[in-house]
């Protein structure tokens, strides 16, 4: 639970944000590269490219995985997450680039000799074996004594909440149960690195949250390095030590969840991680940006280009009385979302998403108030036009608020 609450808290806690701001300002894509925590890199990928025919699925992928960390690959469907895992698992050979494991070249080593195990996206359970036999498969290969195999298998099954399911046939399991068998089958081998490809995708929300906590706890206790794939940003933020955001085969940003959330490197990341208002802006000088023909203070220096993307989080906007130095508009919709209200404000021909605990009725005239550090300036990127097309829940808002971008 703690983790999930942490993420919610994360989104609101401005103080934390300011503290981390200075640190992450300098660190762009290579947060990890400059990391000096002293932990060793268990896996390093450098300049990995992979194409299937004409389609380039991995573009110059470079990242490091530290021992015992929980690293998440996050990105929309088809962005190359599974392919990256398959390169690590040994089921795909990259066209170019190097992959090392504890300093040794990993690429010539066949999958069965790699010290990693995979939880496959489509489970890949053995249909001719029952649940316990599936879980025992790897231990049997290691020729452990039967007694130890049995006890480890039943421990593992109770860890994934499948006690008493040992003798079940695979085709008599639900999708969620299969997924948990797949997790157990990989984790029981206690590999140095566990690759998990959307391992919780088929679970209902409650089971998903429980398993998130369970997995995170196992990862900590067993000291296993997790490389986790998901396209659920909340899952990525709550569970990970590091997050790698990918799009169209390229890494968009690497960093701690909090850095990625607070300092998205470009509009794609900003949009993919949580909901955002993304507006066109202009900068003629440092610390001042022109939004909708009004000047606003910000904490960024002028970029090379005058044209920038401005990102303002919905929860960073306060609705106040209209004033000359603010963007003023009319509340067009207000929906109660449990903890906060979600309001859409039409101002300067754009629809602004605002999250606030203060309710403003539909039709009220308001001013949009935000501070200098709520204004995130981003270089216009190739991905700017892409935003809003992601399969995240924010997508619907983005397309409704189509006026945000031309």
């Amino acid at each position: 639970m703690e983790n999930i609450e942490k993420a919610d808290q994360l989104k609101k806690n401005n103080r934390v944000r300011l503290l981390t701001r200075e640190r992450s300002k300098t660190a762009m894509i290579g947060t990890q590269l400059s990391d000096k925590t002293g932990q060793s890199h268990i896996i390093e990928l450098v300049g990995v490219n992979k194409s299937f025919g004409e389609v380039q699925v991995m573009r110059d992928i470079t990242f490091y995985i530290r021992s015992n960390e929980f690293l998440t690959l996050l990105g929309p469907s088809g962005c190359g997450k599974t392919t990256t895992l398959r390169v690590l698992g040994g089921f795909e050979q990259p066209d170019s680039g190097t992959v090392t494991f504890e300093g040794h070249d990993l690429l010539p080593i066949p999958p069965h000799e790699r010290e990693l195990n995979t939880v496959f996206q489509r489970y890949a359970l053995f249909p001719h074996l029952d649940v316990a036999e599936n879980v025992a498969f790897g231990l049997q290969i290691k020729k452990l004594p039967q007694g130890e195999i049995d006890s480890r298998v039943s421990q593992m099954l109770s860890l994934v909440k499948l006690d008493g399911y040992g003798a079940r046939a695979i085709d008599q399991l639900s999708g969620g149960q299969m997924q948990r068998v797949a997790i157990a089958r990989a984790l029981v081998n206690l590999p140095k690195v566990l690759l998990l490809d959307e391992p919780l995708g088929a679970l209902d929300l409650k089971m998903r949250k429980e398993m998130q906590i369970e997995l995170k706890q196992m990862q900590r206790e067993l000291g296993i390095t997790f490389v986790y794939v998901t396209h659920d940003q909340e899952e990525a933020l709550t569970m990970s030590d590091s997050v790698i955001v990918m799009n169209e085969g390229a890494i968009q940003q690497i960093g701690r969840p909090i850095d990625i959330y607070n300092e998205p490197r470009n509009a794609f990341v900003a949009d993919f991680i949580g909901e955002s208002n993304i507006i066109n802006g202009r900068m003629h000088e440092d610390f001042r940006v022109l939004i909708c023909d009004k000047w606003f203070p910000c904490v960024d220096r002028r970029h090379e280009n005058e044209e920038v993307d401005v990102v303002i989080r919905p929860e960073d906007i306060d609705l106040v009385k209209p004033a000359d130095n603010l963007l003023n508009g009319i509340v067009t919709s207000a929906t109660f979302k449990g903890v906060h209200y979600e309001m859409i404000v039409e101002a300067c021909d754009l629809e602004w998403l605002v999250h606030s605990t203060d309710h403003k009725a539909e039709g009220s005239e308001v001013g949009l108030s935000f501070g200098p550090d709520d204004v995130h300036i981003m270089v216009k990127s190739a991905f700017s036009p892409m935003r809003g097309k992601s399969d995240q829940d924010s997508a619907s808002h983005e397309s409704e608020r189509g006026a945000d971008y031309e």
């Binding site: 698992g89 040994g90 089921f91 066949p110 999958p111 069965h112 000799e113 990693l116 195990n117 995979t118 496959f120 489509r122 890949a124 359970l125 053995f126 249909p127 001719h128 074996l129 029952d130 036999e133 498969f137 790897g138 290969i141 290691k142 089958r185 990989a186 081998n189």
Partner: protein, 302 residues
């Protein structure tokens, strides 16, 4: 639901009645009847009596006589039956040993989406479209003492080797004729094994041989069993192959039946033999299939 199923299965019931039940009843009818001198039909068990009485010979099967020196007298038909069974079983095993790797190779090509897979499969199936008589005659030309192979061997100073008119020739004919029936069912289960299962196996540390033993073979057992059924049964009952490659001197159970019908014109004995053979086939098939079901439940034979 039940009603609808009944209506849908109606054509099938007709089909079974016309092509399966009717011939069976006819054979059963022949087996238990005969005509007296006046041409009157009467019930009789003479057909079965002919099979089990009649001349006896010393049984030489599995080395009972030649190795153990035992002198067990059995009716001629029993030796013929046992001989047929041994040759059919051996031919089936050889077909399995040859057919499994071929099926595996074809499936591998097919899964890798190689075009050659379809072509090779076509080549495998093609002989089945040719008349069995012609195919078997072709072997005669190859294997005869003056045939192509012996001529070749003769040029090398070997032979002539006696290929025909013995167990080798007949076994070869059976393997050749029935191999596609072994390959096809095994192939069709192998192509259905999802590649991700093989990846999962090697991910868990299995090398190729372990994966073959613990994943591929167990998952392909249904195909293996149906292949065995499809080779063992025709090999057990064929008369064409021993007739041609055995030079007419070779007697398997199929020939025995054929001769009762076509030469002795003794429909009663011929039909009685047919019925006994049918009972044997049904029993052995159900044993094989029960084993198949048990084994696939236990997860394989290794």
């Amino acid at each position: 639901m039940n009603k609808r199923f009944g209506r849908l299965s109606f054509p099938y019931i007709i089909w079974v009645a016309v092509f399966t039940i009717a011939p069976l009843l006819l054979v059963a009818f022949f087996a238990f009847t005969s005509y007296d001198i006046n041409g009157n039909l009467y019930f009789t068990l003479q057909g079965f009596r002919n099979i089990f009485s009649g001349a006896t010979v010393t049984l030489d099967w599995l080395g009972l006589k030649s190795i153990l020196g035992l002198d067990i007298q059995v009716p001629v038909y029993v030796t013929v039956f046992l001989k047929s069974l041994s040759i059919a079983v051996i031919a089936t095993l050889i077909s399995l040993l040859l057919g499994y790797p071929v099926a595996w190779l074809l499936a591998k090509l097919k899964i890798a989406k190689k075009r050659s897979a379809d072509f090779l499969l076509f080549l495998t199936v093609m002989p089945m479209w040719m008349n069995a008589l012609l195919r078997t005659y072709a072997w005669l030309a190859l294997l005869e003492p003056t045939g192509i192979i012996n001529t070749f061997l003769g040029n090398l100073g070997i032979g002539p080797v006696q290929f025909l008119y013995n167990d080798f020739g007949i076994g070869l004919g059976m393997v050749y004729n029935y191999l596609p029936f072994m390959i096809l069912p095994i192939y069709s289960v192998l192509v259905k094994i999802h590649p991700s299962l093989l990846e999962a196996s090697s991910d868990l540390g299995a090398d190729n041989i372990y994966t073959l033993r613990k994943v591929i073979i167990p998952l392909s057992l249904p195909g293996v069993y149906s292949g065995i059924n499809m080779v063992l049964m025709p090999a057990m009952t064929t008369f064409l192959i021993p007739d041609l490659l055995g030079g007419g001197r070779y007697m398997l159970i199929g020939n025995a039946i054929q001769r009762q019908y076509m030469i002795s014109r003794d429909y009663t004995t011929g039909s009685a033999l047919t019925i006994l053979l049918l009972i044997f086939v049904l029993i052995s098939m159900s044993v094989i299939n029960r084993n198949a079901a048990e084994m696939s439940e236990e997860g394989g034979l290794m």
